[in-house]
């Protein structure tokens, strides 16, 4: 019974979210907020690009309207009281009326808010169940195991051996199911424009479901304090179109390929550095060196590291120069980074950077 | 207004106002709620203690059967021995009740003796627990072994600590009764110690039933 009711509610909610009522409410709300939130902000929670964020934004406007009305009533009443009931110059010392209250008023301002909250409560519960709904099985679902690590994200795609870091690739209009866990402390996965956040807790795996409906790149970061470099644990979500050169399928194809062989002398030297100087004890490059076991301290899979736009969880743009800087002294880029400083020479750092950047 | 005047007169008549009308320290009683200060304080304290043991016991059940490796409860518990110590602790509730009863009747030296017997029972219980812990550690269950080890020792250990505090408390009260600092009209101090003692017993009944007996009922 309960389940059925909530199911109906959530159905109603999704209909309301995507259709006219939302369109009806939005302009009013926008007018109320006087455009305080510019919609071109890169992480605007109120400019949703995924269904999760859309539901949250819908609730924001719902409560925003209610809150604005209540706040206006309180401030309005207060202002009138201050204007009307202040002691004025020339007033005598006579006492104002000494009544102790009014039962009717007490009942009114208890019952009306209660009724409002009952309605809101029902809607809210509908939203909760809507967001927790498991995606239907017949549709295509991109399932990814997400592991938060100090201080980067590991993405393992369930139906392939793709393992990447910090940059999550998904497809426009396709359901995504993330299974969040952590290798060390609690992290939280948050890409504001696509979906609300969810904790990545060690020892547990929680799902986060969403469906992005806009293509492009969306930035977010860890939202649960996780140590010294918590602020440098970025996420980039790349939503690919279904068709075209930039399609999700093409990306998957590229990632499934073995690592590119080095072509230049510098790259070849870099590969040697990777194999001999200790990089391979923590990193995998498929076809070169693969880790048999991953642990809390092992680093990202580098098979296609050159194809990523950023490194060190969005701390740096991905290019040869930055890669060299990072491998030479990770801790200078990111406080307390767990990547070992191998004391590479400048030449070694440059070579390995060239090799890594060639791994498109 | 006359109603107010009547109320005021009534309050004065009933001796609420005037000399020594209000207690200023823990040794002077006040009866606004018809409960002496000390007793009300102990009741409040026990409310707080309920939350404390509630949290510990909840933690035990939160982690029940979630241990990775290590000995299981059934493999270490010895119902026979624990039943004996439980019986001793329950007996001490009876002797405590006798101590309170005799103190209220003004039989202070009897009350002192009952208090000492109660303390002895409590100390015996703690002795059993020390043996039990030693025995379990010997079997291979330590604080660090598993969730069961951690939750079991911490929960029962804190109970044991409470019993130990209770024993010291009872000895102090017995000494004060003996030296005449707790005469019959201050029997509430014996009663307060009794409230704490019964509470600690009740907590043990909960632990014994749900932690020990339930293991074997499953």
């Amino acid at each position: 019974m309960f389940r059925k009711t909530t199911k109906q509610l959530s159905d109603w909610l999704i209909a309301a979210t995507s259709s006219r009522s939302f369109a009806l409410l939005a302009p009013i709300a926008v007018a109320l907020l006087l455009g305080a939130c510019s919609s071109n902000h890169p992480r605007d929670t109120l400019n949703p690009a995924g269904d999760g964020a859309q539901i949250s934004a819908w609730f924001f406007w719902l409560y925003m309207i209610l809150d604005t009305v209540i706040f206006a009533i309180v401030v309005g009443a207060l202002t009138i009281a201050l204007l009307k009931f202040s002691k004025k110059k020339g007033d005598d010392d006579s006492l104002p009326p000494q009544n102790h209250g009014n039962m009717k008023l007490e009942v009114i301002w208890t019952v009306i808010p209660t009724l409002i909250l009952v309605v809101l409560g029902v809607i809210t519960i509908g939203g909760v169940f809507k967001l927790a709904e498991k995606p239907a099985e017949e549709q295509k679902v991109i399932e990814v195991d997400v592991t938060g690590k100090q201080w980067w994200w590991e993405f393992d795609y369930r139906d392939s051996k793709i393992s990447t870091a910090n940059e999550l690739h998904v497809e426009e209009g396709t359901q995504v199911a993330l299974h969040l866990t952590s290798a060390d402390v609690i992290h939280a996965f948050w890409v504001p424009r696509v979906s609300g956040k969810r904790d990545a807790t060690p020892g547990r795996s929680y799902p986060l479901y969403f469906k992005p409906f806009e293509k492009g790149e969306f930035v977010g970061q860890c939202a649960e304090l996780c140590g010294a470099s918590h602020a440098r644990m970025g996420i980039k979500m790349i939503v690919h179109p279904v068709k075209g050169a930039d399609s999700y399928d093409n990306w998957v194809k590229g990632q499934l390929a073995q690592a590119a062989a080095p072509t230049t002398a510098l790259q070849k030297a870099g590969k040697k550095v990777f194999e001999t100087k200790g990089c391979a004890s923590c990193h995998t490059i498929r076809g070169v060196k693969e880790l048999s076991q991953r642990s809390r301290t092992t680093g990202p899979d580098l098979t296609h590291v050159g194809s990523r736009t950023t490194i060190a969880a969005l701390a740096l743009t991905n290019n040869e120069e930055n890669l060299a800087k990072w491998v030479k002294n990770p801790q200078s880029v990111k406080e307390a980074a767990l990547m070992t400083n191998l004391n590479l020479s400048d030449a070694d750092a440059k070579a390995v950077a060239a090799y890594l950047f060639s791994l498109k | 207004m006359s109603a107010h005047a009547a109320e005021a007169a009534d309050l004065i008549d009933h001796g609420h106002a005037g000399d020594d009308g209000h207690g200023h320290d823990e040794l002077v009683e006040n009866n606004y709620m018809k409960v002496p200060n000390v007793k009300l304080a102990i009741w409040t304290f026990l409310g707080s203690e309920c939350m404390f043991f509630g949290s510990l016991i909840a933690t035990y059940f939160f982690y029940l059967d979630k241990s990775i490796g290590g000995l299981l409860p059934k493999e270490v518990f010895s119902i026979g021995i624990t039943s004996i110590s439980t019986f001793i602790l329950l007996t001490s509730s009876f002797t405590m009740a006798m101590a309170v009863d005799t103190a209220k009747s003004g039989l202070m030296s009897k009350s002192r003796n009952w208090l000492l017997i109660t303390a002895l029972c409590g100390a015996t219980f703690v002795g059993f627990q020390v043996y039990e812990f030693w025995h379990f550690v010997h079997l291979g269950l330590t604080l660090q072994t598993s969730l069961f080890g951690s939750t079991f020792y911490v929960m029962t250990g804190f109970h044991g600590a409470h019993v130990s505090v209770g024993v010291i408390w009872l000895l102090m009260v017995a000494k004060l009764v003996h030296s005449g600092k707790i005469p019959a009209e201050r029997a509430v101090f014996v009663e307060s110690a009794g409230l704490y003692w019964h509470f600690v017993d009740i907590v043990w009944i909960v632990i014994f039933t749900f932690v020990y007996l339930l293991e074997f009922a499953k």
Binding site: V128, P202, R204 | H4, L11, S55, Y63, I68, L143, L176
Partner: protein, 618 residues
């Protein structure tokens, strides 16, 4: 009924006859051995005000770091330490002790008692609190402050990830917890048992009621977090497995135990401020509090429901939709009694004849500012929306509106209002108004834009942010606001210091107020009341002044009563408890048997000092 019928200054009783076991000490010794609730209250307030400045300084430092993007004024670990200490300090060492200061000083006065029920236990609470404050802040000197946030989520606090600061943090908090529990028992007994004749429960002033409610919250909510802290301490000291994931431990256990305390704690911080506001508004509107009974019962209701909402802090933790829905619903319920309070305050002002000295300004500003904080709180209750707002700057804005705009404004109002009662002198009204306006402007400049930052996806507790995130304007505003608040606080400190010595003499009843505390002299004598007043209404002093037939009548001969004597025992036994904590800290730096040696000595010391305590004649 316009003019005063009677003046409160004219109400004189013959000198009472007080008997002591031992005469009091003087000077510093007096403060160290005092059991007088008024002196204990002053020390609590002063310690709270001191830590308010310390916590503010910590905030100023990390706001400098956040002023511009990609700043390198400080690193992540330093920032996390300052953020953790800022929150821990503000919650446990500033707002709570300032509140305790008001509770200690005022509760016996409000209810017409001569002291609290257990004066020595009261002093013990004070010393134990100071010990805890010392321990937590000592972390700065030994190995750095805790850096896991004031919520201390395991396993970041565990043996593997938490630094030595965590040991200071958990053991210091355990001390504060013991202090608060002892105090709560003391005040529950005091308020229930020691009211003056005629002061029925519904005649207890709202402030007294709110203090009673929070004592129940403290007594019942501190034990769970104490258990949580002990489990954490055992994990760190003895290698137990409570939060150890590899052994099957579950980090969510900590979250439940913490928030089972943490949410009632929020009401512990705000209800006294609501009580203070409920005392001040009627005085300056010159009317009774509108719907006093409704205000009292809504406070009780908030306290009650406050125990059923803790997991709304865990909507993102993945508890499942059923739990999320249940906690969303219970949380929304809190809005109802809160609304009742706000509307009754407005009802009090409506029809009044208001004047605006500094305490009234703070009390009036409390209403809209707190309402704003409450309304954003209502948003968090909506779980689907909270998924975005949780751990974002929107939440930061919310709880600063509630705690700065609510609790702190209320405490400032109370400080200006009760200062003449405590010191016998008025605070400067001009400086008070400067403090008020600067602080109000500063806090809104700082915290209002943080709503927008949250909506724009800025998570809390990040030590830096990139320029392309476009969060720089609002962060710069935040830093400017903090600087303005700092200036306001300097004015406040100056005002307090100057007014203690040079303020205008206040007299008993400078505000023409309504409740029993204004019957006493300013500052009150050690016995508070020369004679025990008989209470016939919820406004005994007001009715004495303005209502015929409701006068308070002084007895013809002086009363005779016993007063508690000074005692060293509270400080000594509190010192032995502190010693146990020092043993725990020794274990952090010198693992070995030190812990057991020190702990055994401390236990002997505690038992010995308690024995000395109970055998001491008072």
């Amino acid at each position: 009924m316009s003019a005063k019928l009677h003046d409160i200054e004219a109400l004189q009783a013959p000198e009472p006859h007080m008997h002591y076991e031992r005469p009091g000490k003087t000077g510093l010794m007096d403060w160290l051995t005092t059991v007088d609730h008024k002196k204990v209250g002053v020390v609590y307030w002063a310690a709270g005000a001191f830590f308010l400045l310390v916590g503010g300084l910590e905030a100023l430092l990390f706001r400098i770091q956040l002023a511009v993007p990609d700043n390198d004024f400080m690193g992540g670990e330093t920032f996390n330490g300052l953020v953790t200490m800022h929150a821990t300090t503000m919650v446990f060492l500033a707002i709570m002790p300032m509140t305790a200061g008001f509770a200690n000083f005022l509760v016996p006065l409000l209810i017409g008692a001569r002291d609290v029920a257990f004066p020595r236990l009261n002093a013990w609470s004070l010393w134990t609190f100071l010990g805890g404050a010392l321990v937590i802040n000592a972390s700065f000197l030994f190995g750095g402050p805790p850096a896991a946030g004031w919520t201390g989520y395991a396993p970041l606090t565990g043996p593997e990830f938490g630094g030595t600061g965590i040991d200071f943090w958990w053991s210091g908090l355990a001390l504060l917890s013991a202090s608060s529990m002892a105090a709560s028992i003391n005040f529950i007994v005091t308020i229930l048992n020691m009211r003056a004749p005629g002061m029925t429960l519904l005649r207890v002033p709202v402030l007294g009621w709110m203090m009673l409610v929070i004592q129940f919250l403290l007594a019942l909510s501190f034990p769970p977090v104490t258990v949580g802290l002990i489990l954490l301490g055992f994990d760190r000291m003895f290698g137990t497995t409570f939060y150890n994931v590899s052994m099957g431990g579950d980090p969510q256990l900590w979250q439940h135990l913490f928030w089972l305390f943490g949410h009632p704690e929020v009401y512990v911080l705000i209800l006294p401020a609501m009580g203070i506001v409920s005392e001040i508004l009627p005085v300056f509107a010159r009317r009774p509090l509108f719907g006093q009974t409704a205000v009292i019962f809504s406070g009780i209701f908030i306290g009650f429901v406050g125990f059923g909402v803790w997991a709304h802090h865990m909507f993102t933790a993945g508890m499942g939709p059923v739990a999320d829905a249940a906690f969303a619903a219970t949380t929304a319920i809190i809005a109802i009694p809160t609304g009742v309070k706000i509307f009754n305050w407005l009802g009090t002002l409506w029809g009044g004849k208001m004047t605006y000295p500094t305490p009234m300004l703070f009390a009036i500003a409390f209403i809209p500012i707190f309402t704003l904080g409450g309304l954003s709180g209502l948003m968090h209750a909506a779980a689907p929306l909270d998924l975005q707002q949780h751990d974002s700057y929107f939440v930061v804005a919310h709880f600063h509106y509630v705690l700065v705009g609510g609790a702190l404004l209320g405490l400032f109002a109370g400080t200006y209002f009760y200062f003449p009662k405590v010191t016998g002198r008025m605070m400067s009204d001009g400086l008070g108004k400067a403090h008020f306006w600067l602080f109000l402007i500063g806090m809104n400049i700082t915290f209002f834009p943080q709503h927008m930052l949250g909506n724009e996806g800025m998570p809390r507790r990040i030590y830096t942010y990139p320029a392309d995130a476009q969060w720089d304007l609002y962060n710069m505003l935040g830093t400017i606001g903090v600087i303005i608040m700092t200036v306001a606080m300097l004015i406040f400190v100056y005002n307090v210091i100057v007014s203690v010595k040079k303020g205008a003499i206040a007299g008993r009843d400078p505000w023409d107020a309504a409740t029993l505390e204004w019957l006493t002299e300013s500052p009150p004598k050690v016995q508070n009341f020369d004679f025990t007043p008989i209470v016939l209404s919820e406004r005994p002093v007001w009715d004495h002044k303005y209502t015929e037939g409701m006068e308070i009548i002084a007895p013809e001969k002086g009363e005779s009563f016993h007063m508690p004597s000074y005692s060293w025992k509270p400080m000594i036994s509190s010192g032995f408890v502190l010693m146990l904590i020092i043993g725990i800290l020794l274990n952090t730096f010198m693992p070995g048997n030190w812990l057991w040696i020190v702990a055994a000595l401390a236990a002997v010391g505690v038992v010995g000092s308690v024995w000395a305590w109970v055998s001491e004649p008072v």
